[in-house]
Symmetry: C2
Subunit: 326 residues, 2 copies
DNA sequence: CTAGGTGCAAATAATTTGCAGAGGC
DNA sequence: GCCTCTGCAAATTATTTGCACCTAG
């Protein structure tokens, strides 16, 4: 209960005045999970034997939305529902029209595509909504869904860590191989250093993963929350495959650059969503380090290009000409 | 005006009874574009000097939604809006909170990912909503957006054809090269045949593209409506790159299989969305042909595998072991 | 003492419904 | 003539607001 109170304090807007009624509503709201309508919350207050006006509940909800404690969601029912954001990052929804239950998920891939579409149209994104309406597995098969659901935050932590671990693992492998096959001495040292750092990251992330798993015995077997195809085997896995086919030093650096950029974005994007201070700390820190890797690789790439310009190597086969993208 | 009437007739539910008032509302509605609220439509009727009750408009809108002529959309304004589906396939929205204008787009990539997420959760999708809220370019830069917008259907046709052409073009190149480098005689013939058919498709699609362009002088320069990264240079382009690096006959077939599957899905998915009978015909027909290609390639792959099993070739280097996907 | 916060009841806004009458088939 | 469609007004539902009163700072 303590951290929740701290969370509210952190979000309390200045200049306001506190009130017992509102605190009661806020605490009751934060104690729930799922998506409450204003009326659900009124009923909840009444059932706890608190005489609170419907208008006050509406006002408290608006206050929470303004403060960033709650999000107003709209499932097309003709009224709004509210979900709190305490340890509950924003996400997308699968909405079953049969049992009216809603399931949460995130897709880094979809988020990335949304950004690209918005960029292409010069659109500045404030928030995005993805809702999949249909019939859930439980309703179609008659089986009932497991009553207990893990907190969203835990699922996000689990999935983000899995992806981060796969990424670091593939990064380690990539840099180890790249170091082995790089001819340029400076370049080789860079790859060795990066391999070492990825190894350290890996150890930290794996320890963190075990801590997260310890919080719920069923956690490993619960369905996916965060989808990220791009990192199925780690961002660097495809790069390692290319390495195996033989590339020159510059190409190896370029692959590293692309992967680190993806990796940096990933850590940043999901680090920002953790309420959990430890998970957040790790992700934000790693985002910074991956950015440094990125800059290091870019510097190295430029330096190598300069040195090669002075002493041009034999040319390889030219690539196919590219057509305009669609 | 005629085809609109035919469209309504095709959707009119049996057992009903027709009425002048409803026809008036439906025709007025179909004559508009953009997203009308019920009240907008009432005003519109009144401005045309028709004495029609608000309730009747609501009832007519509900009737159109049930008949599939209209879609109810919800931009979180606390009331619904309606868009008609005559020559107006379903799509996603960019919604500007500043000028309240909404822009339409489609992303095959996002649609594909949504299907994957739903599959992973055993969810049966009826419809999906993607809404990007923020500020549009016109509002941010002060410039005003061009007043005329091309009909959605035309933009979809343009983009779908562009992608289809890129796909067929890359397919032609892929099969031509594959035929040249295939050692197995049967396999070579298959690739030659496919190359020929892709060539025919290409010619048809290019002719169709010119017809579509003729319908709006500015069409080529309008912003993208349909996004599909997967086909930036044609689905087969990546396959052709791999060919260049040297693959065996089986691998070439497998690449063809993957590409044809993507191509089939693409033609099917967007063919279904065309109201336009000619574009629809081409796409649906091509979807069938690509499916036949797919089946042909699969048969060929199996046959080759059988023949190779009888006379096992030298083994190539083994691939890296794969980790569980995320 | 004073700017918020609260309760209550009335207002608003979008949409639906009951019912009597009009009008296709 | 029957059954659906229409108009009108009243009802319903979710949410907001005016106003008198209360209370924390």
């Amino acid at each position: 209960m303590e951290p929740q109170a701290a969370y509210v304090e952190r979000h309390r807007p200045p200049g306001g005045r506190r009130s017992g009624k509102r605190d009661l509503i806020v605490n009751t709201f934060l104690g729930q999970h799922g998506h409450l309508s204003a009326d659900d919350l009124v009923e909840l207050m009444r059932s706890e034997d608190h005489r609170i006006s419907r208008a006050t509940v509406y006002r408290a909800l608006q206050w929470m939305v303004d403060a960033g404690i709650a999000r107003k969601v709209d499932f097309g029912e003709g009224r709004f529902r509210f979900e709190h954001s305490y340890r509950h990052p924003r996400h997308f929804h699968l909405i079953c029209k049969s049992c009216n239950h809603s399931y949460e998920f995130l897709s880094s891939d979809i988020e990335g595509l949304i950004e690209e579409v918005a960029d292409a149209r010069g659109f500045d994104v404030r928030k995005s909504v993805v809702q999949i309406y249909g019939t859930c597995e439980a309703c179609r098969t008659g089986r009932q869904r497991p009553e207990d659901e893990a907190p969203t935050e835990l699922l996000l932590a689990r999935d983000a860590l899995r992806i981060a671990i796969a990424t670091e693992r593939s990064g380690l492998e990539f840099y180890t191989r790249a170091a082995r096959m790089t001819k340029d001495v400076r370049g080789r040292r860079v790859f060795q250093q990066l391999a070492e750092e990825e190894g350290e990251h890996l150890a930290k992330l794996e320890a963190r993963y075990q801590e997260v798993l310890a919080q719920d015995p069923d956690l490993e077997s619960r369905p996916a929350f965060l989808f990220f195809k791009g990192a199925a085997n780690g961002l660097f896995a495809a790069g390692t495959d290319v390495l195996a086919k033989g590339v020159d030093d510059k190409q190896a650096l370029m692959i590293g650059i692309r992967c680190e950029r993806g990796s940096h974005r990933f850590f940043k994007r999901y680090g920002e969503r953790f309420e959990d201070s430890e998970g957040k700390r790790i992700f934000m820190e790693f985002a910074d380090e991956e950015r440094e890797h990125l800059e290091l690789l870019i510097r190295e790439y430029k330096s190598l290009a300069l040195r090669q310009a002075a002493k041009p190597p034999r040319r390889r086969a030219k690539g196919r000409p590219r057509r305009a993208s669609v």
